[in-house]
């Protein structure tokens, strides 16, 4: 074997290479996102995923060996979910003042997100595993991945669907709600957090502070509700 091949076979067997590549790809994605003026279409995760997918294709690396390295980043999704308690607790006062609208809008928005997605995919003939991966797509990624796993869906497919959901919400929410003439920032933010999780929440913070705060509340509450709702609604389509 040549030296280069020896070095490659060492790197390919250790987690260091793909851990490093994951961090650099995200760093690059984030730089492009900032340079674009934080446009929703320049989502840093999407850019990082494309860069890494191309890199895996060029080096002929299987996803499994990539994940050996990237699992250290993936592991942090659990603790990150627990960390959502901090903004949620900080906004408990605002939640209490608008409790009734929050509860009703949460139920309506969350059910609409799960039911309409499953109904459409089911009408197109999607199989059970695909429906299971799709059901939790409006919940924040760490939670959606956990729900998908417990329903028998592919967690990696769910991750992609969650990202796309957030980007669709972030791109269309402002023009759409303007056209409908809805002016309550609490309502706009909350609905965005419920339907389009963290990416929608980030968008809401760019538009209005109150919208952003209510979006994080919506995202946090929907993470909990989707865990209950997704298995129940999924059963309707099996």
């Amino acid at each position: 074997m040549t030296d280069a091949a020896l070095i490659w076979s060492y790197l390919a067997s250790k987690p260091l290479l793909w851990l490093c590549a994951t961090l650099f790809a995200y760093w690059a994605g984030d730089a492009i996102f900032r340079r674009s003026g934080r446009k929703p279409w320049a989502n840093p995760v999407m850019i990082a995923v494309i860069l890494l997918a191309v890199l895996l294709g060029l080096t002929g690396t299987e996803y499994q060996s990539y994940f050996e390295g990237a699992q250290f980043v993936h592991f942090m999704l659990g603790p990150a979910t627990v960390c959502l308690a901090v903004p949620l607790q900080a906004n408990l006062g605002a939640v209490r003042r608008a409790l009734v609208p929050i509860v009703v809008a949460l139920l309506a928005g969350s059910f609409t997100a799960v039911f309409s997605a499953l109904a459409i995919a089911w009408a197109f003939g999607a199989d059970t595993a695909l429906l299971a991966a799709l059901a939790p797509k409006s919940a924040t990624a760490p939670v959606a991945i956990g729900i998908s796993e417990s329903l028998g869906g592919a967690p990696t497919l769910t991750a992609v669907l969650v990202l796309l959901t957030g980007m669709i919400g972030a791109i269309f929410v402002t023009p759409m709600l303007n056209a409908l003439g809805l002016k309550d920032w609490r309502a706009r933010g909350f609905a965005t957090g419920v339907a389009a999780h963290g990416i929608g929440t980030a968008r809401a913070f760019q538009v209005h502070d109150t919208a952003g705060a209510f979006a994080s509340i919506g995202m946090g509450l929907n993470a909990v509700l989707t865990a209950f709702l997704a298995p129940l609604v999924l059963r309707l389509f099996l």
Binding site: A80, I120, A126, K137, A154, L161, R186, G198
Partner: protein, 118 residues
Amino acid sequence: MVGALAIILLFQLAGEVISRAGHLPLPGPVLGMVGLVVALSVSTRLRELIRPTAQGVLQNLSLLFVPAGVGVVAHMPTLASYGVALGVALVVSTLLAIVVGAVTFTWVARLVGSRADD
């Protein structure tokens, strides 16, 4: 920082144990989050200890989606054969959920007289 991380992991661990022991539909980290909300409401000291670390983690939340997102390479056949179905399902359901949520919130807020502060 180590203390905060240890406590965050402890809440996740407790959540996993309760979720598995009780066969609950909620993932362990979500239970851990609910538990931490309660604990933070009770203790100001815990709030001050956890906040900087939690904010640091949440500021880089998107990075954590990357490894699972790269899994798209393993699902190209599914995405190719169900591309239209998934595309229509995602766009329609996301936009519909935002409209239904925002309209419901606005109507119910008007009905119960809940006003925005600003």
